[in-house]
Amino acid sequence: MIILAIESSCDETSAAVLVNGDMRSNVIAAQLIHEQYGGVVPELASRAHQQHIWPVVERALADASVAKTDLSAVAFTRGPGLLGSLLVGASFAKALALGLAIPLIEVNHMQAHVLAHFIDDPERPEKPNFPFLCLTVSGGHTQIVRVDGPLAMHVIGQTMDDAVGEAFDKSAKLLGLPYPGGPLIDKYAAEGNPLAYRFPMSEMPDLNFSFSGIKTAILYFLRQQTKDNPDFIQQHLPDICASIQHTLIQMLLTKLKRAVRETGITQIAIAGGVSANRGLRTALNQLGQEQNWQIFIPRFEYCTDNAAMIAMAAKFKFEQGDFVDQTVSPLPRLSF
C-alpha cells in the first residue's frame, strides 16, 4: 500500500508518501523553498499553494523513491481550513486520482493531528492505546479530543473564541514583539518568574476554553504599568512573558485535569504547533508524573501542519475502504 497525501489547509503546502507503515517522505514547501533559494519564506503568499504543489509532490515522490504509477491511493485535507487553500490540494488530489484510476481519500485535518501519534518513529516507539485524550493546540485550534479508535473520536472541549496559539501571538504583539511572537514568549519565559504577575483565568463551563479575555487583561496591565514607568516592558520582559505563559498553560492543564477526572482516561497525547512550546511540554510532563498519566508528544515536524499526518489518517481509511468519489468538495468549517 503506497499513499500520497497532500495538505494545504492553511499556510503550508505539504506532501508525504507512506509505504505500508513507513513514512518515506514528508516535504513542506517552506523548507523546500528555503533550501533551493535560501530566501524569505512567504507566510500567506499569493497563489502560493498553486505554485508549490507540483514541486512539493515531485520531491515527496522522489524522496520516497516512488513513481506516480506505484501509488495505491491519493489523500487530501478536506477541512477545516481556508477555502482557497483547501481547493488547491483537493483539486490536485482529485485530478491525480482520476488520472491514475486509484482511490481518493478525504481527511479531516484535526483528526489527522491526533493520528500523527501513530506514525512510526524509532525515537518514540511507544504509541498511545485506545482510548486516550488528545489536547490539540495550534494557532487556529484548541481542542480536547476523546479518541476511542483511529476513526472514532469526538471533541469534548474546545475554545469559544481565540485559539491558544493566537493568544500567545497576540500577547507578544501587545508587548511589541514581532508577529507571530508565540515562540518568543516561550524563549523569554525561560528566564522569568512565572508568578511575578497574575492574570485572570477565564472561567468557562464544561471542558471549553476562552482565551480572548487575557488579551484585554494584558492590555490594561501594560497601560497601567507603563503610565508609571515607560520602560516597564523592556525592564521586565522575561517576568511578563513567564507570567503570561504560565497563565495560558494553567488554563489548558486545568481543563485537561478535569477531562481526565470526567473520563477516567490517563493516557494523554498532545498535538498541534503549540506543543512545541517548551513551557507546555515541561508542565505537562511534570503534571503527568504527579498524576501518574502517560504522556505522548510527537516529534516537532509531525506537530505543525504537515502531510505525514494526513497520510497516517488516510492509511486507517484505506484499510476500511473509506473512499470518496470525484463529487467531493472541501469544507472550510469541517468538524467531527
Binding site: C10, E43, L44, A45, S46, R47, P80, G81, L82, L83, G84, S138, G139, G140, Q158, T159, M160, D161, D162, A163, G165, E166, K170, K173, L174, S212, K215, T216, I218, L219, Y220, P332, R333
Partner: protein, 141 residues
Amino acid sequence: MTLELKHLDDIDSVAHRLLAAGREQPVWLFEGDMGAGKTTLIKALCRALGVLTPVQSPTYSIVNEYTTHEGHPVYHFDCYRLRNEAEALDIGIEEYLASGNYCFIEWPERVVSLWPARYFQVQLTAGADDQRTIEARLVTD
C-alpha cells in the same frame, strides 16, 4: 451614534441597537486596537442575528462562515494576517463583499482599496475598567 458600554453584560443590548442602526448595510468594518473587543462585539451581533454555532476568532482562518437559524450566511473576516490587498483578492473577498450577506470585518485597514462605496463603520475604544466606547456610523463615499 455613540454608545457607552459600562459592563460586558450590556453587550447584547448594544448589539441590538447597532443592528437597528446598521441593519440595511451588509458590510461592517470594525476598527479598534488589539484587546478592544472587536471579536467579542461580533460574537454578540451574531448571537443577535440568531447564529447558534460558536463564533471563534478568524485571525488564523481569515474568514469564518456562520449560519443564522433562518439559514442566512454571516461572514466574519479578520484581515490581521493579510499583508496586502492581493492576498485578500486571492481568498475571494470581493465575492463575499458582493454577496449581500453580512460581512463583519476586523482589521479592515489592511484592505482599504477593497472597501465598498457604502459600509457601516464601528470604532471601539477601550476606556478604564472594562468600559468601551463604540462609535458607529453609515459611510457613503
